[in-house]
C-alpha cells in the first residue's frame, strides 16, 4: 500500500499553473515545522480540495485543547493512498503532524496522519 502522497500533492498544487508556479502556496504556513500531536479526532471533514480535522489533545496537567487542522490533502487523494476514513472518524486516537499558520499559530496544515498501528499517510514532507 502506498502511504506517501507528498509528491502527488505537490503535483496537484502545481498542475493547473505554469511549471514554476504552485496552485496555491504554502507560504501562509511555517512548513519547516513538524509538530506532532497525539490526540483523539474531534471532527473530520473528508472533502476536496482539502480535508480538515480537529483533534482533542490532553495536556500534561489533564486539561484539554483542540488542535485545528484547517487544511490537508485532498480527500480523494488520501483515500486513494489507502486511508480508510473510518480510521480517522470522530473518537479515534491518532497522531497528527502539523505546520502552523504564520499569522495564526492555532491553525495548522495537516502534513501527516499516523494511525495507532503505525500506518502513516504523508501529504507534505516525510
Amino acid at each position: 500500500m502506498k502511504k506517501r502522497l507528498s509528491g502527488l500533492l505537490v503535483a496537484a498544487l502545481a498542475a493547473f499553473a505554469l511549471p514554476a508556479v504552485a496552485h496555491h502556496s504554502f507560504a501562509i504556513y511555517d512548513m519547516t515545522q513538524n509538530i506532532e500531536f497525539d490526540g483523539v479526532v474531534e471532527t473530520l471533514k473528508m472533502r476536496n480540495p482539502h480535508m480538515a480535522m480537529t483533534l482533542t489533545v490532553t495536556n500534561a496537567d489533564g486539561t484539554k485543547k483542540t488542535i485545528n487542522f484547517v487544511e490537508g490533502a485532498p480527500a480523494n487523494m488520501i483515500v486513494r493512498m489507502g486511508l480508510n476514513p473510518a480510521d480517522v472518524a470522530a473518537g479515534k486516537p491518532i497522531k497528527a503532524i502539523g505546520a502552523p499558520r504564520k499569522d495564526d499559530p492555532n491553525a495548522y496544515f495537516l502534513k501527516a496522519i499516523i494511525l495507532p498501528d503505525g500506518r502513516k499517510y504523508v501529504s507534505v514532507g516525510n
Binding site: 503535483a11 498542475a15 507560504a27 472533502r47 476536496n48
Partner: protein
C-alpha cells in the same frame, strides 16, 4: 481474404440471418466503416512538456501580468473557489482520475479534479451550435488516420496571468493518439495529446504542449465536490449549524 470480400461475406450471412436486405446493408455499412482507435477508459495524468517554457506575452498581456503579480498572491487561487481550470489547462490535469467515454458521435471526458467534464463532438455527426462561451469551450473533431484532431473555440476568458491565461480569442488544436509503452515490463496504453494553443491577444507565439494520460483500469472515478468548504464557511459566517442526521436514533436498532 480481402477486406471487401469479407464484408460481402458478412453482408450475405447477415442477410440470411436477418432475412432483410436492409438490415444486412446497415450491418455491412457498419462493418465497412473505418475502425478508429478507442480512447475509452480510465486514466491518470502522466506528465507533460511545453514549448516555449515561458511564453512571451504581448505588450498588453505583459503589463497585465505585472499588475497581476503585484496584486495577487498564489493564495488568491481561483481553484480554491471552484473555478474550473478549463481548456487547455485541464488537459495536463491534476493527479486525479480521468475517464474518457467514446461514441461514434462524440467523446466525453470526466476529470475527477474539480468535477470537470468536456464534450468533443465529431464533425461528421451534426455537432450542436455553441450557445455560450465556457471553460471547456466548443470542441469539434475529425479523424486523420488514427489521430483525432480537435479544434476548440468559444472559451470564456481565464484572466489569471500566472496560470496560463487565455482570452476569448484562444484557439486550441489537439492531435490525440494512442501509444503503447513499456511500463515496468508491461505494455501499457497511453493517450498522447499534442496541443497547440494560439491566443494572439496574450501570447506572441503559439504554445505547444504534449500531455500524457496513462491507462489505469484499476482506478475509479471518485466524486469531487469542490464547494463543501465554501458552504461550510458560509454557515460559519451565518452562525448556522446543520443537524447531525447520523446521530438520529436508528429505528431498526
Amino acid at each position: 481474404m480481402p477486406k471487401s470480400a469479407s464484408i460481402a461475406a458478412l453482408a450475405a450471412a447477415l442477410t440470411a440471418l436477418c432475412g432483410s436486405d436492409l438490415a444486412a446493408q446497415e450491418a455491412a455499412a457498419v462493418a465497412a466503416a473505418p475502425q478508429h482507435p478507442d480512447f475509452s477508459g480510465l486514466y491518470f495524468p502522466a506528465g507533460r512538456q511545453q514549448d516555449p517554457q515561458r511564453p512571451e506575452y504581448t505588450p498588453a498581456a505583459a503589463a497585465a501580468a505585472a499588475e497581476y503579480e503585484k496584486a495577487f498572491t498564489l493564495d488568491d487561487d481561483p481553484g480554491r473557489y471552484c473555478q474550473w481550470p478549463g481548456m487547455p489547462r485541464a488537459v495536463w490535469g491534476a493527479p486525479f482520475t480521468v475517464e474518457i467515454q467514446q461514441r461514434p458521435q462524440d467523446l466525453t471526458i470526466y476529470w475527477e479534479g474539480y468535477g470537470m467534464y468536456r464534450k468533443i463532438y465529431m464533425a461528421d455527426h451534426s455537432p450542436p451550435t455553441p450557445l455560450l462561451p465556457s471553460a471547456m469551450g466548443h470542441s469539434i473533431a475529425h479523424w486523420e488516420g488514427d489521430t483525432l484532431v480537435v479544434e476548440t473555440t468559444n472559451l470564456k476568458p481565464y484572466p489569471y496571468m500566472t496560470r496560463q491565461a487565455t482570452s476569448s480569442d484562444a484557439h486550441v488544436v489537439e492531435r490525440i493518439h494512442l501509444e503503447e509503452r513499456d511500463v515496468e515490463g508491461q505494455k501499457t496504453k497511453f493517450v498522447v495529446n499534442e496541443l497547440v494553443l494560439t491566443d494572439p491577444r496574450i501570447y506572441k507565439t503559439p504554445i505547444k504542449i504534449t500531455a500524457n494520460l496513462r491507462h489505469r483500469p484499476d482506478l475509479q472515478l471518485l466524486e469531487y465536490t469542490c464547494t463543501d468548504t465554501l458552504w461550510d464557511d458560509y454557515l460559519n459566517q451565518r452562525g448556522l449549524t446543520l443537524p447531525d442526521v447520523d446521530a438520529f436514533p436508528d429505528p431498526q436498532g
